[in-house]
Symmetry: C2
Subunit: 449 residues, 2 copies
């Protein structure tokens, strides 16, 4: 691969080399240097994992939010780590971080609208780039990421943590061992009552009020605006990432097209009106939220599978990613925690998933379980950060690469376009430009990382 | 309503009067006369309920299948009822039945392709017409039913039994009492491993072989052919009927359009190849089944709700109609038998449905529970037949009328069209021609029928 041929760079000496260059010269620091762009709660969660590791140092953070910087610095003090360099002089100060600190690895955990811009800046500087998830804005943005990565000497690792969820990995293990036969139909999504996240009192992050934007705090500050103006699947990747692993998207298979439907929007308005700090005369009660309370997207795949993707964040409900994995021989549904496998299960009857999840527990989980305990989101964040750093050490192609990022991000603008046009089907570009014909999966093939 | 004005008919005297005419003249027999068109297993199931009732007599059956006629006659002997007149001289002999026996009520439980033709013949003869469910074939067929009904002095009762399922009626009760608030999103469908129904050995109906068509028995004789040639939601009404009650379709609301996706087809072929009486050299192993194993249809409603409709009949799986009823205030899902209602349930947590289903048990079920015990499909068939006969007695507009029949049947051809055109959206005609603006529901408003 051309961009992995670093001969052209070996004449550059001293500080300021990329990780790949340092490695090539056998001069790499024994610890990876990591910078965090966006040190809000998600960035802090990553930092807490990084501070527990002996193979990296968090050398710098960039965030214009003084309150979040303060909280982040307190984490370093509390854990007895050296303070990071702080770049908090506006939203472009992260560029100075990249140029002055020259981190080996960057984690981008900023608001959604900054992800692509930041990732491109990192890739241009040949930094191993971990980019947090969200939905995208345009197909052109997806291509821009790909252009930047293909020119870069480094890689984009798309940080989809749910791929590491224990039950999901056990099911993937079962898929790979052919328990379900050839896969036929899958469902997934993001079904999470975010009303108490989208609104707060500007001080306490969750369930504290009905403000957002400039008057909000944390995610309410920036995330809620998307629900005001956009109608589509705004957050597809927690569902589609794991499903993509099971049906080998971009690796012998690809998404052909999608259609989306959106319900009416009631939940966010009701929340404002019914909240003790809101009411029908609160200014936010006048807003018309564009985001349908339930957005459902149907995807048709090249190899004949169908995928249904749920987005449901404005209504009272229990958390559920709604996984369904159905093949020739059997079916798993997460919502009732049940499995049916022909020949193993009683005909026409569910079995509890428990024995299967235990038996097919993924080697990664078996090996690293104790390390994962206490990590964010039921331990899966440990595996995510672990994988990011281990791949970065050797500048390896990540399991969720720039083509996956582009494909998964594209669901958001495509679903918006479908809804805006009365559910017209929207084709997926082949972001790999044919590489999906030969590429094979690199995800979780053993217990290493 | 013009067709209910029977003055023009009162001069006709003697036998051969319609039910409505006899009633008008105060000359109606105290028992309804019922005829069954199609006395296969579904017809026999209805007959067993009818033979238990004191308000009707089953006077005639029509079916060209000698074996099924024999079984049906045995039911009459066993129960000590007078034998019905039998019309078994080919597929058109039912016309002779209608003209000679002049039944008050007909139940059409023949193969799908005969439903519309038979219903139109009954309506032309002003017979109160109960038509069994299936999916339709064309939009024109739906209009033909409507034209026939609007000209008739009688009515079409579309026999969707799942509207009477106990949990479904309790949830409808909760919907009407506003437990869920304004409804936002619904799911439903027909998910039933029918492989052992679509194929048999020509003698035993279920799980006995891999034959169908002329070599098959019962449903395998005619139903399987649809899976060979058609790709769409072939059986939408068990799901959509109950959902239509909850969101008042054709009564202040209507379906605007749908899109459908279909997965690849593997299940039926596998079944033939893997069956001990089949194998890869069995002639049926050469067939290419057109019906995708999983067909998913998304419907957008005039009042802003979305409906997802599942069709899944070719793969190993437990039976599930997959109901999901979601509103501003809460959510029911049948698959995990759970409910979440804001203010009642713990925040972000499921509750068992049990206490809710008990508390909101529908008055119909409370009153008739003992009668329903033992009736087909968990008792709901009792309510269906009960409702049909009670409505027929007074020639009342049924709860599921010809406009519902047309709307629900239309899903099949519309889904076929959508799949055939790469999931292009397909508009629903307004079969009511505006009557949905004013019509209101007649379904299950009290405990009578």
């Amino acid at each position: 691969m051309k961009r992995r041929d670093f001969i052209k760079n070996t004449s550059v000496a001293g500080a300021g080399l990329t990780l790949a260059q340092k490695k090539k010269q056998g001069r790499r620091d024994s610890k990876l240097s990591v910078a965090i762009l966006g040190s809000g709660f998600r960035g802090q969660s990553h930092i807490s994992l990084l501070l527990n590791r002996s193979d990296c140092r968090v050398i710098a953070i960039a965030d214009p939010d003084k309150e979040m910087v303060k909280r982040t610095k307190a984490m370093f003090s509390k854990s007895g780590n050296a303070q990071p360099m702080v770049y908090d002089n506006g939203q472009k100060d992260y560029i100075n971080l990249l140029d002055k600190e020259k981190p080996d690895v960057v984690i981008i955990s900023s608001p959604w609208m900054l992800h692509t811009e930041m990732a491109i800046a990192c890739l241009e500087r040949n930094i191993y780039t971990g980019m947090e998830v969200c939905g995208g804005f345009s197909i052109e943005e997806c291509w821009a990421l790909i252009r930047a990565e293909e020119k870069s000497e480094s890689h984009l690792f798309f940080l989809e943590n749910v791929c590491y969820r224990r039950d999901v990995m056990a099911i993937l293990n079962m898929v790979r061992q052919n328990l379900f036969g050839e896969l036929i139909h899958l469902e997934c999504g993001y079904q999470h009552d975010l009303r108490g996240v989208k609104f707060n009192d500007g001080k306490t992050a969750y369930n504290s009020g009905v403000e957002f934007g400039e008057k909000g705090f944390s995610e309410a500050k920036w995330r809620t605006q998307h629900s005001v103006h956009r109608n589509g699947d705004l957050y597809p990747t927690h569902g589609i990432g794991p499903v993509a692993q099971m049906i080998n998207i971009n690796r012998g298979n690809r998404f052909l097209y999608l259609t989306s439907v959106a319900s009416k929007a009631r939940g966010l308005h009701n929340y404002i009106v019914d909240h003790p700090k809101g009411g029908s005369s609160h200014p936010n009660a006048k807003l018309k939220f564009k985001l349908g309370d339930k957005v459902t997207t149907s995807i048709v795949c090249n190899n004949g599978e169908t995928v249904i993707l749920h987005h449901d964040t404005n209504l009272p409900r229990p958390y559920s990613l709604g996984f369904r994995v159905q093949g020739e021989k059997g079916l798993w549904m997460a919502v009732n925690k049940s499995i049916h496998i022909e020949g193993l299960s009683e005909s026409h009857r569910w079995e509890s998933q428990d024995a299967y999840l235990k038996k097919y527990d993924h080697p990664l989980w078996k090996r690293w379980e104790q390390k994962a305990v206490g990590a964010g989101h039921g331990g899966m964040d440990f595996f995510l950060v672990h994988s990011l750093l281990e791949h970065a050490k050797n500048n390896e192609v990540p399991p969720f690469d720039v083509y996956d990022a582009a494909t998964w991000l594209a669901i958001t603008p495509l679903s918006e376009q479908s809804i805006a046009t009365g559910s017209q089907p929207q084709p997926f570009p082949d972001f790999t430009r044919g590489k999906w014909l030969k590429n094979t999966t690199k995800f979780a093939l053993n217990d290493a990382y």
